[in-house]
Symmetry: C2
Subunit: 416 residues, 2 copies
């Protein structure tokens, strides 16, 4: 691309459209390499009325999607909504090879059937985030299995060993004397080759894909193709707030988890991660995100309330509005219970005693009169285990551990 952006003859309307798209694409990214080329590509796509090819590579061995993955998918959706072409590449070729050293049990050889199943799982889950009807799906074995040794050597001739070793994890393992099997060099090599084959304009991935995505750029240049732009998204931390969210670390929020689990897990996130999660994983419009974060910063929004908004949003995205509402209610109940004083008054019962709510509250002297008790129950001021009880005549089976609550401050816990 020798032409500069200034030399392109865009109408004012097109210029505005380029900048509108760029404002979206740059939002929340860790890096775009290089931004100016992305602007050129967007402009050219408008001039030539040709959508950009946006590539996303997928590992066929771990198809369970968690919120960490949605960061990239949300970015992908922006491109899709602006009319660009989304190309998903299932890396089945390397998956089917497995680990030739036989050392890694994680990278077992996948059969065609498992690969197809996993791809279907991706499809089902991705449908919650992007329009799968307007996605082009590829299995890279289609072009990779036809490569000859000669082709591979030709490819390997376009990259130096020093460059390969520069990859962070390779460098570290070499320095520590930990083995790197030579076949591991093939994965970035072939990911790069995928970009040549696809003639991708853009490849999107997490920052951990920095090296591999730049391989695509490198090889496209060596093979005299137009180079793809790398869009690198931050990695979401997991529930521990420290490690990258991942299945193997058991610190993830899966998008197929139950509403209650999703809501509850989100509420357990450290407060300081909220800006990142709002920005990268909610898909809220930019203005909503900014307003929320400002309110958080000024103190007008309590962190707990912000987090509840976040949790509700996630359930809404992956299970719908009704489920989100229910999950919030459920959480509130549990949340109330969590606010119980630690030194509650204990009251002895005979296990299995059965009486009405009204009889029960009177038995434990929670009210001075039945009429006061009735009034409070009807007004929603009485809870058992955090759940409001509005029917004084409802039968109650008293059990050890049960908590009776009146208003906000009066609690008793039953014991044998």
């Amino acid at each position: 691309m020798r032409q500069t952006f200034e030399e392109m003859t865009l109408t004012d309307e097109q210029l505005l459209e380029v900048e509108r798209q760029m404002a979206e694409y740059t939002q929340g990214v860790d890096d775009i390499i290089p931004t100016e080329e992305l602007r050129m590509k967007v402009a050219k796509s408008l001039l030539n009325n040709r959508p950009l090819k946006v590539k996303l590579g997928l590992d066929p061995s771990a198809p369970d999607i968690h919120l960490g993955h949605t960061v990239v998918l949300n970015k992908i959706r922006q491109f899709q909504e602006n009319g660009h072409e989304i190309h998903l590449i299932i890396g089945d070729f390397t998956g089917k090879i497995g680990d030739p050293t036989g050392k890694s049990t994680a990278r077992v050889q996948l059969t065609d059937e498992v690969v197809k199943q996993n791809a279907q799982t991706y499809f089902d889950q991705f449908g919650k985030l992007i329009d799968m009807d307007r996605v082009v799906l590829h299995y890279n074995s289609k072009w990779l299995k036809g490569l000859s040794l000669e082709d591979v050597i030709g490819l390997a001739g376009k990259i130096t060993v020093a460059r390969m070793i520069e990859r962070d994890d390779f460098e570290e393992r070499l320095a520590l004397g930990k083995p790197i099997s030579l076949h591991e060099f093939f994965y970035p090599l072939l990911q790069g080759y995928d970009s040549i084959h696809l003639e991708s304009d853009i490849e999107i991935g997490g920052t951990d894909q920095h090296f591999n995505i730049l391989m695509g750029r490198h090889f496209q240049e060596k093979f005299r193709r137009e180079k793809q732009v790398a869009i690198l998204m931050p990695l979401l931390e997991g529930l521990d707030g420290v490690e990258k969210m991942s299945k193997s670390k058991h610190n993830y929020i899966g998008i197929d988890e139950s509403p209650a689990d999703m809501y509850g897990k989100t509420m357990s996130l450290p407060d300081e991660l909220m800006p990142k999660f709002f920005t990268l994983a909610t898909g809220f419009p930019q203005e909503t995100i900014e307003a929320t974060l400002r309110a958080l910063l000024s103190g007008s929004l309590h962190p707990r309330d912000a987090k509840m908004k976040l949790a509700k949003r996630f359930v809404e995205l992956y299970h719908g509005e009704e489920a989100a509402e229910q999950a919030e209610q459920g959480f509130k109940r549990v949340f109330q219970l969590r606010l119980l004083p630690e030194d509650m008054e204990q009251r002895k019962i005979s296990d299995g005693e059965s009486l009405t709510l009204l009889e029960a509250v009177m038995k434990f002297d929670l009210f001075s009169s039945k009429s006061e008790a009735r009034r409070m129950i009807a007004g929603g001021g009485v809870r058992i285990n955090g759940d409001k009880q509005t029917d004084g005549d409802a039968p109650i089976l008293l059990k050890a551990g049960m908590i009776l609550q009146v208003g906000k401050r009066k609690f008793i816990q039953l014991k044998d």
Copy 2:
């Protein structure tokens, strides 16, 4: 091979034969890795009446054979003479790929035709050293071109990056920041694969092939084959006495060079290289070599005479006995000229003067009487330019620069 040598049930005769062969094979080597396995293989070949497969890889791009190459061929011949199978592998596959980086003009892409021509050149020259009728010739493209990317990754999975980088030249280039193209890793890899395919028992090469030959051993082990033994031969230095003999260094003695060049170049070798050349390149029986080296050491053999023996031997090996005799004579003449005193008496002549030899020697007062002159001429005591002149009546055309010599000490040189 779990059995030890001691556990093999060999007859006394077989034991003697094993040790006889081992004495030959160990002669002059830089290293055998490992010697004990070679002994086992020789023993097994006797027990099973099965010849060993001895592998020699050849680069199809540089088919001109020099004395440096003959070191390995002499070792090969020993195996051949003991009935083992010689397998020559023409590395045409990598040769036909050329250098994918396009940087090296040395490694240009060879056509099928050139590869065949070069192989024929090998054949013609090797015939001077080994029995080409009892050699199995392979082109490694036959099996390598059928390898798929999957096969290559499987192969690469059996070796670590650290191990590859250990190769001396790779390690040095990495340390110096000089680029190593990734495709260079394929050469040792594929040389190793050749050994798997061939099921070679032994691979022979120069010490510069140490790493590549051990690759074969490594891969055979990984693919659960019996491992080949590496026989590493010392590298012959070239005429400069310092650098390895090689065509690119212009310091070589080619086996197709003219007898005079071969003889003369050998005479220009530094004295201290003679033991090495005798041991590695003459093919003399061990006793002859040892006797010569002892005589040299004791001073009973003059280094110049030893070198003449060496030079004559080389011409004899590659051009036959008669040519060797002539080359020696030719050298002796030139050699005599080289012993001329630097301050010879100068005698003025008129250019183009013609007279007989007798007239000439008398004209320049080399003798006090014609009869003395005739006697000396007849006895071979007179030379012109180092060549004996025995006919006093032969016409001589006097020229500036011409040297007339009587006996060993009397010289005159003619000038205009």
